[in-house]
Symmetry: D2
Subunit: 401 residues, 4 copies
Amino acid sequence: MDYVNGPGRNHLFVPGPVNIPDQVIRAMNRNNEDHRSPAVPALTKTLLEDVKKIFKTTSGTPFLIPTTGTGAWESALTNTLSPGDRIVSFLIGQFSLLWIDQQQRLKFNVDVVESEWGQGANLEILEEKLAADRSHTIKAICIVHNETATGVTNNLAKVRKLLDEYQHPALLLVDGVSSICALDFRMDEWGIDVALTGSQKALSLPTGMGIVCASPKALEAAKTAKSLRVFFDWNDYLTFYKLGTFWPYTPSIQLLYGLRAALDLIFEEGLENVIARHKRLGKATRLAVEAWGLKNCTQKEEWYSDTVTAVVVPPHIDSTQIVRRAWKRYNMSLGLGLNKVAGKVFRIGHIGHLNECQLLGCLAGVEMILKDVGYPIKLGSGVGAACAYLQNNIPLIPSRI
Amino acid sequence: MDYVNGPGRNHLFVPGPVNIPDQVIRAMNRNNEDHRSPAVPALTKTLLEDVKKIFKTTSGTPFLIPTTGTGAWESALTNTLSPGDRIVSFLIGQFSLLWIDQQQRLKFNVDVVESEWGQGANLEILEEKLAADRSHTIKAICIVHNETATGVTNNLAKVRKLLDEYQHPALLLVDGVSSICALDFRMDEWGIDVALTGSQKALSLPTGMGIVCASPKALEAAKTAKSLRVFFDWNDYLTFYKLGTFWPYTPSIQLLYGLRAALDLIFEEGLENVIARHKRLGKATRLAVEAWGLKNCTQKEEWYSDTVTAVVVPPHIDSTQIVRRAWKRYNMSLGLGLNKVAGKVFRIGHIGHLNECQLLGCLAGVEMILKDVGYPIKLGSGVGAACAYLQNNIPLIPSRI
Amino acid sequence: MDYVNGPGRNHLFVPGPVNIPDQVIRAMNRNNEDHRSPAVPALTKTLLEDVKKIFKTTSGTPFLIPTTGTGAWESALTNTLSPGDRIVSFLIGQFSLLWIDQQQRLKFNVDVVESEWGQGANLEILEEKLAADRSHTIKAICIVHNETATGVTNNLAKVRKLLDEYQHPALLLVDGVSSICALDFRMDEWGIDVALTGSQKALSLPTGMGIVCASPKALEAAKTAKSLRVFFDWNDYLTFYKLGTFWPYTPSIQLLYGLRAALDLIFEEGLENVIARHKRLGKATRLAVEAWGLKNCTQKEEWYSDTVTAVVVPPHIDSTQIVRRAWKRYNMSLGLGLNKVAGKVFRIGHIGHLNECQLLGCLAGVEMILKDVGYPIKLGSGVGAACAYLQNNIPLIPSRI
Amino acid sequence: MDYVNGPGRNHLFVPGPVNIPDQVIRAMNRNNEDHRSPAVPALTKTLLEDVKKIFKTTSGTPFLIPTTGTGAWESALTNTLSPGDRIVSFLIGQFSLLWIDQQQRLKFNVDVVESEWGQGANLEILEEKLAADRSHTIKAICIVHNETATGVTNNLAKVRKLLDEYQHPALLLVDGVSSICALDFRMDEWGIDVALTGSQKALSLPTGMGIVCASPKALEAAKTAKSLRVFFDWNDYLTFYKLGTFWPYTPSIQLLYGLRAALDLIFEEGLENVIARHKRLGKATRLAVEAWGLKNCTQKEEWYSDTVTAVVVPPHIDSTQIVRRAWKRYNMSLGLGLNKVAGKVFRIGHIGHLNECQLLGCLAGVEMILKDVGYPIKLGSGVGAACAYLQNNIPLIPSRI
């Protein structure tokens, strides 16, 4: 049933789905259970309480929806908005593009603010729009925290600052798919109304759970939002929350136990330590890219992503060949360049359950692949640069001191 | 992490989620993989081809959607219908009720045909409506093949016959959640336009995959259906089917491998043998109920369900206590009575990966529970009646002869 | 890789290897680890401490040897005795026979006390021998606590009483393979010098760990025992215990984590509750056998075994056919009759991780098999008899009250 | 239950226990089975046939013993020799030392040929001894193929050549624990009489199976060998082989299925490809060590080991600190220096289920550790040197071309 075995372990460095910790794989290795027994609500209750911590919210209400990130997007939109509502939405790469496509197909009136791929959301234009929108026609701002296709992290604090400055009541809807639980993310502090992620990203679970967190203001909006929805309807969840049975339909028992194990691991490591680890991995990757003499797709340091790095290849090289070669020769999975940057970048995901020596194995592999495709690389250069930084910055493992 | 261990194995006899075969648990016990590697489409291709066999369709197009049965319902409706469209829908128990609720909230014009709970869909009224509908205002017939709440199986062949008789072009949308892969189900022969099930039912997987199969006519309808949808949009799947990458968004790698293993097991046993096994389990359960002197919630033999039996308890007994006691004393999970039959019935699920001696263990447990709650049962009577039938009918295991 | 799948779950009712709890399977579902890292000794330390509790010893020293019960026997003998030493050993069935064969091949001078199969150890003859042995030529008494082939439990307290009465210094070596952690077993109170079991029995683990516990007197004997041994030498273990690294050679990491999980489950249920559960299962089985009109191989109630019941079939029936049919038709594994009782008995193991409804499923299966082979059984009779007892005696599951 | 989690995956680079492939972990993730059912002999038969291929023998008889390498040693010795028999045995490191200790404790007359640690077996002395031994008092030559403590591979072909040259009938007993299935090993061609390995080494399974293969001459010797043995007695296995039930006592069901999966993977990759992969990993490691300016403990190229490299550290550095730091800071497991080379070397195991980028991650980690302990290393130097070789030599993965 494994069609294409390679020797040794697959080096999984796409920015999702990411490596699952063995503890989580173990926790999910189980038979089904009756989701109407008293055990499942008891478990769910702890999950709903604890999942808020990774959003850094105390006032938010989480929903653990059996869906993917795309479904989580739809949940965020349809529960808070009505067809025809004006949205300001930032197009900065393939995933923000897809979200905008969804917004348009759901018949919202999308005011698209486009940036060159490799740049962050253009907040100056946002400011202009907010300043101009005295009658508050803008009902929501939709923004990805981290654009997975280009490795660009947007400044959400600044978005909030602008909204506050102009006392604009628009809802702030944030795709945190490749950020939450890996990058610094502060739902309450940044006044985010809906934040969402997918289980297969920084939480390091299988795909299948869209995790959405709604502010009180978003919940209020859900009462009047006219977008049709049933499967994604928060109100059905809220009804069952009140009943104490929690689930309007059948959840994946395995993902519930998996999420429990994932959260336990994250809290054991410490969320701040998890974020710091992602910072180290991001920085180390960028140092390697620099040492290789290659460019980061991300155009300015302020947008550098600590979960994924899109590496620009020289014009005569097809980045697709790099990804293909990684798979065919090194049992390594790298991310393709998508859409506008197809063939031009390849992506190294450094998100989720990962440590430094795993990343260094990947970087060494990338060096060999670059040589394979004719790029004049000094082997060991990127790894050496990354090591020089990491050797100064990796902390001892607390439980082993 | 297991909040409420009991000694020995949990006896899981709810009509879903059902027992997962060990082979499937093993197949799913794995790390994530890059869904954009060549391995995942190669695997997916076999799944899409093979899953059609359990629907008994050659002309249908399957969709493996990361969702639950509720989402599969929504996918069936929104891809084929437009708000305001007239639907004839049969209300015969809690799950058909929930589907109707969804239909109404999605703004279809639902013509509800209600039966007493315990009866099947009233096809006489359907005939009347079809006869009256010369202008073909009815766009779709929505029907559950097997109502999980009452253990009632509807006669789909007859529904088709009526549609044909009146040459009515309405789409036939069928919830096969607790039937497909357990009961005799013939998508092509019965002219079903959309059939759907959930992974946690007769396929014996975890929850998380809604499996929907669309006829050519349904696909045609999807081109003009005006219901808003993105996550559930078949067209996005079809686009990726053409590309050969198959997935518009990230699937659960684990469920794909799990489905592969589940289908392999089903084909190894033989689909007809699987169906025959469910017939045996259903019959045995009904014989036990009869021997206990209790009534089946299903009022006529023609509607008897081979996947779930709702047992009516005497008025002075609260069926909720039976389910609770099963859990608290016997490590057994039975189905509650829902809504109109709450407190009045308890349900024995005999669906999925299950054999006769497992069922007999359950029936023995139910006997003790009935005694616990004061019902004057002759211990061993139901098991004996079931055994008398089974001992004459269980075939040898082919691989062991 | 599963050569002979049957539908549904295999009903495993041999008296070992037994059903493994899912929690234990999960705990063992892991990669290897360096057994010289600090983690493995830390884990081992807890195991050595906790495993003593299931032997009910505080003064004993446990050894977790990567071997089977046969190896554990050899460890018990070679560490305490020298070739030529006189042993009194009881032959009451196939497993005591095999142990005696081992004793003889290891060149001990074995004084065999044979009983008819189905009877317990003849302690009257022991008394005679002890009385006669004023010069203490008997160096050890070897006895199985529970003879797995016949379902006979010996009275160890009485053995100790006799040794004390005659102030005889012989070592008391006990095979507790199918007793420890299931039957009442009291190493310290009964003055047992070496007690042993195998992981695949009542501990409900995979095969591969022989668990041996030695009294201070046995450890003293190990200093002078002249039997050659290296792999099984306790002294090598003791050396590594002192070093704090615990392992003279590489242990199975998986079994260590598995044992941890198994002990946790046992202590959560409570050892006394585990023993009480085995009593219930044994009693229920015997009541069923009686109701079937069949005879227990065990000839007197004082020897009844709560972990395995050997059922005598009528002369015209070949018990081997019963076991074969269980496998071929009912996906059930029963124990064969061995050696002298081959063809005459079949065995129902009711040991390890098992609950009442699992056993009842087995008993129902046995009823059908008995009918299959022509025995005039009233179907449901045994199950009914067992239920009548169990329904009065099963406690509520504490964690679920 | 995981006392000392670190973030990310543990980098397991001890020379055993090694990394288990996910496919094998999956195959072992199962409940117990009755080892007396027809399924287990059917499986065992394929294992006994296929395991011979990794020994490169057609005439040998394999034994899959529930034990460790130490037990496999004992099995090899006690089945072929009698107390007092003269053995020539080579002491070249900790593991040959332990085997010799065993030989002496089992009362053989051991003629120890010692080499400086880091050198191979002194075959000149062997030649002298064979030349002198006209009366054939030497009953066996005992030699490790690969000394795991120093990373020294002995030349077995040459040993055979000497025995042939002097027409000496001594048995040739070979410890192949860290060689078989990783290094070129040819039981038949080299006239090896007993070869053995452990499951947790190149077969990449958990610990718990000692795999011993005996030549016809060794089986002949087993008929007259007077060493006492029962658990390890080949004759008991041979008896059960004839019966077709294969097991004199209970095997680990999980290890049997695991071995099946492990062999399937090895044959899918191709045994020669597996060996070539180990050659690449060994060579790459040695190039890194050289680039670091450090010395290989192995003194001559002819003895270089492709499964483990013992790296000599400068006198002012304590190699124990390197191993400790690897564990505490980098979640990496390296091998300690043992006995004579304690504190002086650390070991990198490059054996089993491992690929090049995994090794490079380890080498990058070792570079950082060396810097941590004050060794003046140029970061990236070893990885670069290894990559330069590997990039030229890694083949494409056949199933992915």
